[in-house]
């Protein structure tokens, strides 16, 4: 068996050489295939690169904003409502000889103004004349009567342009003036000699009676003497038991808004303000500021002061209880300003990055106000109008 071994090895190596007679050809083929794959990959990459857009990480493009001079307006905005002005009820008293209070006629309608001397209405056939509030209406005044009330009546008649001497006595000239007043309104003045009733209406004729009396029931008053009719009973209707014929608005509707003590600084008396209701906007000015009012948290009312503004003349579409916004109209002075996002912070210090040809540098700033995306900055910080500041 010893001789078999060399023979066997020789035979094996010979067999191997026989299967691959030129073994280096195999290596060459493998090298060719690999080279082909690499070439194909390179060619594909090059073709793709030339065919489509070339993507590279985007370079950082600095974005900057220009320093401007502008008013950074930090306006206070309040929520308010329209508050109906005070009204005064005008009541008629039952004339003698009548059973019910019926509004017979009236020359007035809602919205009309009223003033002393005017006829307000006719109730159960007798007039209701407007008289100054200074006349105390507590008794009928008959010829010869004297007193402070007569004196006040005489002053009222003078105020209506009637010639009367202030004597304090219900004398003939006073009675004549009263007759004239009644006559101008289309009625006869009542006479102390005959009962006053609808039958004594003269329809413009002067009283035939030589003497007249002042019947307090035929006069009505409103505080402040003038006003505007807020509501009036319909002609022909039976008046309620309390005899209310009309409600006279003696104060105009106003706008009231609550400002906290911080906001109140922008709403001093006389300060301009803008009132907005829906798409309507109107200019007004603060008319009054109340004393401090404690808020009511349950009603979402903040503590502060109530700001009152008149409704501008000619304003349309505002009715009592309507919600409005009130914006302070004070315009702050112009100062240097940059967009708010340009303001950076480090250790509580505000600064901006000033863009310069040779790079950027930090400028510390003091922000004095901010509103609507802008920050007002102190002028002494090394920035000037037109400078560019980088945005983060």
């Amino acid at each position: 068996m010893a001789w078999l071994m060399p023979d066997s090895e020789t035979a094996l190596s010979r067999r191997a050489m026989t299967r691959v007679p030129r073994w280096w050809l195999l290596l060459s083929c493998v090298a060719l295939v690999v080279a082909g794959l690499v070439a194909a990959y390179w060619a594909g990459s090059a073709a793709a690169a030339s065919a489509g857009p070339h993507y590279e990480p985007p370079a950082e493009i600095p974005v900057s904003a220009t320093v401007q001079k502008r008013a950074v307006n930090q306006q206070a905005i309040l929520t308010g409502r329209v508050v109906a002005g005070a009204t005064s009820a005008v009541r008629a008293s039952l004339p003698e000889g009548t059973d019910r209070l019926i509004l017979t006629s009236t020359p007035k309608a809602a919205g009309d103004s009223v003033a002393p001397g005017e006829l307000l209405a006719v109730v159960s056939g007798r007039p209701l004349l407007m008289i100054q509030a200074s006349v105390p209406l507590y008794r009928d005044i008959k010829p010869g009567d004297a007193g402070m009330d007569v004196q006040a009546l005489q002053r009222a008649l003078v105020g209506l342009g009637l010639a009367v001497k202030i004597s304090g006595i219900f004398d003939q000239p006073t009675q004549s003036a009263l007759k004239t007043w009644y006559g101008n309104a289309g009625f006869e003045a009542p006479s102390p000699l005959e009962p006053v009733s609808a039958a004594t209406n003269g329809g413009g004729k002067s009283s035939k009676a030589s003497t007249v009396m002042f019947s307090w029931r035929e006069f009505v008053q409103v505080p402040g003497d003038t006003g505007r009719i807020a509501s009036m009973a319909a002609v022909g209707t039976l008046l309620p038991e309390d005899g209310v014929v009309a409600h006279i608005a003696i104060a105009e509707d106003t706008i009231v808004a609550r400002a906290n003590l911080l906001q109140a600084k922008d709403f001093a008396v006389g300060a301009p303000a803008t009132v907005r209701a829906g798409s309507t906007s109107m200019d007004s000015a603060v008319a009054a500021v109340s004393a401090f009012v404690e808020g009511d948290e349950s009603k979402n009312e903040v503590p502060g002061v109530d700001i009152t503004l008149p409704i501008p003349a000619g304003a349309q579409g505002l009715s009592p209880e309507q919600s409005v916004t009130v914006t302070s109209g004070s315009v702050p002075p112009e100062s240097l300003a940059v967009p708010l996002i340009a303001i950076r912070q480090e250790n509580g210090i505000a600064y901006v990055q000033l863009s310069a040809p040779d790079g950027s540098r930090r400028i510390d700033v003091t922000v004095t106000a901010q509103a609507d995306g802008w920050a007002a900055i102190d002028d002494g910080g090394g920035l000037a109008v037109g400078d560019s500041v980088l945005l983060p």
Binding site: F292, P303, N347, G348
Partner: protein, 234 residues
């Protein structure tokens, strides 16, 4: 740091879960529990006094109260309960306790948790900080110039006459002085920086705490679901 305390909402969830468990116990003792519910409340952070002019104008020196929506609707005042019922409630409150829910609330007395330690350390470090000290001096000088002084024993509350109007006026001047001394939030920012530095040193413990908190909140949600609280309220 707030991530490691319960948020307002989470606190409501956990407290409501505990309440349900206490009332389960009361009912088990044979009593009927009257309907309960309502929103939770949380107070504005005032460690360094008032910092908002807007809130000062509204509340003066008092903290703003935030509302956290409750899991059960608001109920009218609960009727008076019998003595036995009250005893049962006390017993159940004691036996249920926190029902295993950790109390992760800032400022709890006797709390020795890591987050409490971090906060206390940050408070101490802030008080020694040169910037803080300078800020406080400038603020006090400004207050004195306006004729104001600090309330005795309270280092950040300014004395007022007691009327609501004066309290608001003083609070607004207080914030004004803080703004002119470097910003009303400055001490809070300094504190936050120290707190952040401390947190880095205890991050592993804090991570475990965050997991503990998440688990507690999730468990609370499950307790609430089991008691019929709708998912929309969770």
């Amino acid at each position: 740091m707030s991530a490691y305390w319960y948020s307002d909402r989470e606190n409501v969830l956990v407290n409501s879960a505990v309440a349900f468990l206490v009332y389960d116990c009361v009912e088990h003792a044979g009593f009927t529990v009257a309907p309960w519910g309502g929103d939770g409340k949380a107070l504005q952070d005032r460690r360094y006094g008032q910092w908002s002019a807007t809130l000062a104008a509204k509340n003066g020196q008092k903290p703003e109260i935030r509302k956290a929506p409750g899991v059960m609707p608001e109920q009218p005042a609960r009727p008076a309960s019998s003595l036995e019922h009250q005893r049962a409630e006390t017993t159940c409150t004691n036996s249920v306790g926190r029902a295993g829910f950790p109390e992760l609330l800032e400022g709890l007395a006797g709390d020795l948790s890591v987050q409490q330690q971090i906060t206390q350390n940050a408070v101490g470090l802030t008080e020694q900080d040169a910037e803080y000290v300078a800020y406080r001096e400038a603020w006090q000088k400004c207050l004195a110039a306006k004729g104001l002084k600090l309330r005795a024993g309270d280092t950040w509350t300014v004395e007022s006459s007691g009327s609501k109007e004066d309290e608001i006026r003083v609070a607004l001047l207080d914030v004004e002085c803080k703004e002119s001394s470097g910003g009303a939030r400055k001490p809070y920012d300094i504190f936050a920086q120290y707190q952040a530095a401390q947190m880095k040193d205890h991050q592993a413990e804090l991570n475990a705490l965050a997991e503990q908190k998440s688990a507690a909140v999730e468990r609370a949600r499950q307790v609430l679901r089991d008691h019929g609280v709708a998912d929309a309220r969770l």
